[in-house]
């Protein structure tokens, strides 16, 4: 199996509080075509870990050490130019809240075309056509009209499909999805999960952050449990569900089960 991402000894600290790392010695790796779920309570550092991979954290605010390797390159050492070229092409993201992900004052088509054109030499028209094809592959209706719409006239489900279409356009090696289903209704959650299944079959690695153990059970192969910035337990999904070692993991599982039952 090919490793697409290897995070080693990742520490994230706030520059104004260097003595308390928010992410504390996190190490994990992601294989091609597999899914790794990160679970943990709110504020445990899941989002920061994901953002560190794409270098989305403000360098004036955060101090990051350790290494994040992709294809033999350290993403933390890379120039800003190079990391931006990788993001959106080989490393893609599916957002938590699709309603606020796009700039509300620019049409969807323009935002898709600009994304395509920073990664490949394309004329505007060719970029629009590629964009329309990508939307059609996601089974979106009236794609030309969609390209001409402003984000605020579209529903969350549609916008999430658009971010997925954008994530897949350049055949990424792995995708980061930080609570990508949280803001959606049940029907659209289902749709997103199906798309993630397809991605795995295409050999794309998935780094999933979720509160929903159901999602983790369905999609993930391996799982990490984070608490207060530390990875306190790891293993295959099967192992963790059937025999959690840490009481914290058990509590999380129980809480999740309880929520499920209440919903039923």
């Amino acid at each position: 199996m090919k490793e697409v991402l290897k995070v080693s000894h990742l520490y994230i600290r706030l520059k104004r509080a260097l003595d308390q790392p928010i992410v504390n010695n996190a190490s994990f790796s992601l294989q091609k075509g597999s899914a790794l779920a990160i679970v943990g309570e709110s504020g445990s550092g899941k989002t920061l870990t994901c953002k560190a991979v794409m270098r989305l954290l403000n360098a004036r605010q955060f101090n990051i050490s350790g290494s994040i390797r992709y294809n033999g390159m350290d993403l933390l050492e890379m120039s800003e130019k190079k990391i931006r070229a990788l993001c959106g092409s080989k490393i893609a993201m599916v957002v938590q809240n699709p309603m606020t992900a796009f700039n509300p004052t620019v049409k969807i088509g323009a935002q898709m075309a600009e994304t395509l054109r920073v990664h490949q030499k394309l004329r505007k028209k060719a970029a629009y056509e590629l964009g329309i094809h990508a939307l059609e592959r996601m089974n979106l209706p009236r794609c030309e009209q969609l390209m001409n719409s402003y984000p605020y006239v579209l529903s969350g489900g549609m916008l999430q499909r658009i971010t997925i279409a954008l994530a897949l356009i350049h055949e990424p090696d792995f995708i980061i999805a930080d609570e990508a289903t949280t803001a959606l209704d049940v029907k659209n959650q289902q749709m997103v999960l199906e798309e993630f299944e397809k991605m795995k079959r295409r050999g794309i690695g998935l780094l999933l952050v979720t509160h929903d153990f159901g999602v983790a059970a369905k999609l993930a192969d391996d799982m990490l449990v984070m608490r207060r910035g530390k990875i306190i337990e790891r293993g295959t999904v099967y192992d963790l569900f059937s025999a959690p070692q840490q009481t914290y993991t058990k509590e999380l599982l129980d809480a999740s089960m309880l929520r499920k039952e209440k919903c039923m």
């Binding site: 953002k51 794409m54 989305l56 004036r60 800003e80 130019k81 931006r84 070229a85 990788l86 993001c87 959106g88 092409s89 893609a92 993201m93 957002v95 809240n97 606020t100 992900a101 796009f102 700039n103 509300p104 004052t105 620019v106 600009e114 994304t115 920073v118 990664h119 009236r142 719409s149 402003y150 605020y152 006239v153 579209l154 529903s155 489900g157 549609m158 971010t163 954008l166």
Partner: protein, 313 residues
Amino acid sequence: MVVFFKRCRALIITLFGVTALSFLMANISIVDPAEAYARNIFLHPTEEQIVQIRNEMGLDQPLYEQYIQWLGSSLRGDLGISLQTKNTVVSDIGQKLPITMQLVSLALLWVVVLTIPVSLVAALRQNSWFDHLVRVATILGASLPNFWLGFLVLLFFAVTFPIVEVVDGNLVSLVFPSLVLATPLASISIRLLRATLLSNLNKDYVTYAKARGLRNGRIVWGHVMRNSLPPLVMLFCQYIGHMLAGSAIVESIFSMQGIGTHLVDAIMARDLPTVNGCVLIIAMIFVFGRTLADIINKRLNPRMINRDEVLYD
């Protein structure tokens, strides 16, 4: 179309209101304009002379009639004759306005040239020494009175270090007055734009734009800047009229013959036709600024136009 008519109606109401108010204010003042004017011509005017002048100027008629008469002729482009200069008010304004317009345009240019880069750097380097410096400078700039700053500049560059002709007729001579005039607006604009830029830079769409692979320059110029402009455009356009009215101080400090000093002189001399004419022109420019701001902001922010677009799912 409906919006257009509503806007026009608002414009007309504003102009009516402002001119009627200026009429009223001039007439409730304790000084009798006819008497004041008569004292200007004859050293010791007799009662008859004052009455005669009052009749000639139409000041014996009731106020509303004077206003209607003035309105009627001003709609025909006739703002009357200046009591001071004996020229038509229109030709006087036509002579003075360009000088002030030059001054104000140059001041507005300074504001744009200063505001955009300074607030951008301050926002991108939040809490850096530059940001702190800008904070102090803009607080000073927004609170220093114009006349004080003007005298300071005059003292420094015309008296202590006379490197350039500060008081002259050419464009170079406009540099200092326009900078003084620009200072308060530039200070407020920088603070406003810095704040809106910061709030936009922290939005989700910026993070996602980076995740899509866009570089900082593109994100700032293609997305963040244009989204941060509407409040600034509103402030800026409203300030055009403000500056025009406030140009009197700067003009008198730098001995310029613009509309500001013209208006103040007219008020001092009770030259009512000139006062009313100037007020009308300044009010028109005020209203024009607001309209301009609305038009630009509708272009910048599509949500202000098509709210009722179909939401399809």
